[in-house]
Symmetry: D2
Subunit: 376 residues, 4 copies
């Protein structure tokens, strides 16, 4: 019955649904901006029927709107076209163009990208911020990276830990990858792809100064693949950009200003990760309880992810063990035994679901000032 | 990352998800079989990227498996091909073939169909159980129905109440439709399409002996369009077939053995509708309460839809007014004031969310036998 | 550990819990005020350990605050004291006094009441707005009513359909009740008590000009008895009072200005019932869809109960059968086939879950004005 | 309306509610039995109207049945009787007797107890498994412990960290407590009371060989205080007893065979804690994925608490970081990169929400055998 309704009307209806849904079930992914930067939610590796995905580009736009994303890229395989019997399309920019049109009345940015799809090495890589995907249809595995870079592309290595290309699932640099990195043809690496995470890929990124990337690599439906109705979320890359513009995002990627959000976990270098944690977790009210020396602290979690904190200060908590969880978007209360009345104190937490290096969780320090009148 | 995984593995994962989902949230649509017939759940009007839909056929198969459907048909528009720049496909059977392949390891039946897409008259019609859709690409509006019928097709009129073709939304037979009916070229009519229902279409069906049809006419995603996570369901046609086979289903459609399930409402002729209600609603336990003359009756609703019943017997209910709702898949208790102790009695209910004719709701009669020992 | 904390602090904590709960799960019962009157939510029949209930009066106050009630009465049995071995209390005002103290910092009004507890006739009756319950400890069944009335009490007959006193559950006036009514000693009658409803009691009220009452008659916990976490609610009496004061409420009761709210059903005389329905259901936006003659109407339900409406106008609905449900606190959209473009129209609905007399549901009339520019 | 219904019938109704509730929302607390011992769920510190609580004993029995507890004790304050104006009861055994009667048709055991309620030292202590509470009404603070012990009581120190008796909330042994311990008059200590936990109390228990206790100390309603509808649970003591009998439970308490369950955390000595973790977490299926060296392991959590595990083995996980949560009663899947195909391996986890000493979490070791055919 859709025939003469415009796609735009349908889209609005979907987004309306998404919005009411978001409020009720918290589908929208939320992270606060940090000082000087926008915290942009990006999923820069996705597929549609224009390579081996199962949906038209319009669905990808609607999914992104429902998830409150800021940026997406549809990165069709250049070399792998299982639908080519049905979609022989000569123009590899088509998926991008359709998404762009679909998103034109929304804030969502569509970044032009393609997946360079090779055997190992180099395996699969995404080139985004490209100008013409057709020009990347070249045979030579090195030349395609040069062509992408000539277009100003930001290029990252996809799922280096993929068990179809590495049976042990251990991300490992080959000589070819080292050349790409040395020649500045490869700039980032997926440490998170779809349902997987790689400590080894994280270590490679740290060792070789690559941008940390996390993507859904969605082929089917976001809602099914990531269990959205049950509270799941797709993996994304938080890009800390000076402004909401394509150029600022591209620059931020080259500057490695990213944090990966995966299964309620944040992975990033301290310079980007810590400001996100610090702006997400806000101290609201502080007061001593009655005549006691137990300090009650109200902590707001302004993000849509839970934070799991382990107490590393010498103060003990009155109403829990050493582990607390700050639920998404909620007010939380902790009670700290300060032993005597203090004007200020410092609490220190290991953020168990944040990662700065393999097996390494950052410390989050809370400086607390107690107002003079703060006796409840 | 999907590249070398087979679609089959992915499908299993999706269905696994669907099954756990079904148990938790009740997504699976359930109606009991009736005496002598299977109650088959069919959605016989759907679209994919092969006409103006937004998904590949595999998604339609997975949605159907999640909803516990028995039969689907992908009825691409023959004459409306907005994706033709990308999918110039000469073979109009392609969508059917891809779905068939996708469903090969499941019980789900895929019926071959196409949507004949014309201005009014005759508007849009679906021909299902066809053999070759390509042969239906004929210009003449009458000839296409003849060609479809030559293939043994069951043909039904889609959304006769569509406001893009009737600005008042009132289904009305044209002379052309009358000819189609008289010549036995048109056999059914949608009284339900997507989010809409038409009393007038129901009246036409009753007046002209047409099969009652209800379909999702899905173009986007079932989950979004019908609010599945919030407990919604797609419209379907329940087909009462002698067995689970294509031929039996086709025969049942020609025999008008259908009931439409739409927004928790059942619409059908009494001969088909009443047995579904009667097998869905089962009396379990019957006993008088203590020393009183109030009879407690346990009623099971074996279907996945709620039944809204209005008391039309002379007996009054003790724990409610005249309106009760039997929740999906639940045990319900009612208490009836029988005035004195009876061995048997008959209760009569108007089923408010069942419809047998415009503005007409059927009566459901419950014959209750009270066991001698039935005093709790 | 409660020892030195004041009950007041605990109460606040409970109410805080209740408030967050209310927003999330809709526990608070809400009905809008009507023109000239406050719509006060009253539960005027409850028990505590001071007769045969299982909780101290403070729990009753907290339950009422959680449910957003305006008025409660703790109506201990005068003559039935199963806890008397433990609570020999000579002062029958004690329960009232404790509740009053507990509620002192809240808006909740505590009305002084007692349950006169006799065999049939007259069975059980509540006297509320009394001054001293001890003075009602008189043997003679008529005299106790006179004593209550001397104190200015409003007196109502409890559960006239109780199967422990009428094995058939059929409320029936005895000669004794007729005398009480004639002498203006009995003013109201419960048509709803706990989980039960009586059409016969409603008829008695209408025939003899008695005030309609509905109460929880709670002995255990409101949360358990009425399935609060699953969305249930306790039965209450909506009292339409000139202001939120004891005297105004007492006057409204004598004036029969009540509506009973029971299992998502409203029961009342039209003069009181219809204004509540009319202020609960508000037309928000009205516009024709596209170029069609189908009118889209946004309807807000401002109450916390669902309204089940059956279409009784000659216009057909485009997106449903004749039955619609306006969910609590929600925006609802209906589409009406007006056949041609109208500037105004009237819709008529039978409110299936409202009752004005046995087996009788009122009509709710919606007058709709269509703005000139109302084409979407 | 309760008057002539027996409390027993009401109880059944409540429990029926609880059971359906349990299945849907998981209210029932579940831990598997361990080898040689029953894992009994006990809440041995509770109040009713017979001291400063707000409910009659029957509510405490019903709450316990709903929570699937095995044992409760109603430990009324001996010396603190704020309801004494209303309940002057001379017999301090009354609360126990009423609960016993209420529970007579259920498996629930009622243990006779009382709270010895003094200023510090010794503060409050519970004596359970007593014979006659009246005999404990003695003035001398040492003598009351001797009297309790003469009755065979198990005695534990309540909330040693209570800020009303220790403004810093730090549990500290006084000389008086040391005497009680030395003379074997005090056997246990609450490390958990209501909403609070004390590392210092845990250290005292470990240093002085005291039994670890955790209790709700409930005064109001379990459902409200511990947020049951939102998935909360009351604190309890898991007692590992040779059988389900009062004597076996008493013996287990004296033998310090307890683990405390508090806010989804388990606290205990390794000898008792580890078997509970080991029987709760079960390896189900193990197989390598496809042709890869990634091992897929299905892990069942048979308890009603989530387990939060941090990977401490050298193997990395493929589908998560180092932190996993095994949800209550669920099947969980982890994927381990074993680098090459192994026949067996050992995984090691820090159980973050289990505690064996202040700030100390136990290691849980999983020995995994891989079947030869285990390739999926």
């Amino acid at each position: 019955m859709k025939l003469f309704f415009t796609a735009f009307l349908c889209l609005l209806a979907y987004v309306g649904l998404a919005q009411s849904h978001s409020h009720a079930l918290g589908r929208a992914i939320r992270f606060p901006d940090i000082a000087g930067y926008k915290t942009l939610k990006c999923d820069l590796h996705q597929h549609t029927v224009f390579s081996d995905g199962s949906v038209w580009p319009d669905i990808r736009v609607m999914e992104a709107l429902m998830d409150s994303l800021d940026v997406i890229s549809l990165t069709e395989h250049l070399e792998y076209q299982p639908h080519k019997d049905d979609i022989p399309h000569p123009d590899r920019n088509r998926s991008f163009e359709l998404a762009k049109k679909e998103a034109k009345d929304h804030q969502l940015l569509i970044v032009h990208g393609s997946e360079i799809t090779r055997r190992m090495p180099p395996g699969h890589c995404n080139a985004i911020f490209i100008k013409d995907a057709n020009l990347l249809l070249v045979k030579d595995s090195l030349e395609v990276f040069q062509k992408a870079n000539e277009q100003g592309a930001f290029v990252f290595w996809n799922h280096p830990h993929w068990i179809s290309q590495r049976r042990d699932g251990v991300a490992t640099l080959t000589d070819f990858h080292k050349i790409l990195i040395t020649q500045k043809l490869l700039h980032g690496i997926e440490i998170v792809n779809e349902h997987t995470y790689s400590d080894e890929a994280l270590q490679i990124a740290l060792d070789h100064n690559l941008t940390l990337m996390g993507t859904s690599d969605i082929h089917g439906l976001i809602d099914w693949e990531f269990g959205i109705p049950k509270g799941g979320h797709r993996p994304i890359t938080l890009v800390l950009a000076k402004e909401r513009s394509e150029e600022a995002i591209r620059q931020a990627l080259f500057d490695r200003k990213t944090v990966v959000y995966f299964k309620d976990m944040l992975i990033g270098r301290p310079a980007e990760l810590m400001p996100i944690i610090e702006t997400s977790i806000q101290i609201k009210q502080v007061s001593y309880i009655g005549k006691s020396d137990v300090l009650r602290i109200q902590i707001e979690n302004r993000s849509s992810m839970p934070f799991m904190l382990q107490n590393k200060s010498s103060y003990r908590l009155h109403t829990s063990g050493d582990l607390i969880t700050l639920q998404p978007g909620s007010q939380n209360f902790i009670e700290v035994k300060t032993l005597k009345r203090l004007n200020q104190l410092e609490l220190s937490w290991e953020v168990l679901n944040a990662v700065t290096a393999p097996q390494t969780h950052p410390r989050h320090s809370m400086r607390i000032s107690v107002p003079d009148t703060a006796t409840q």
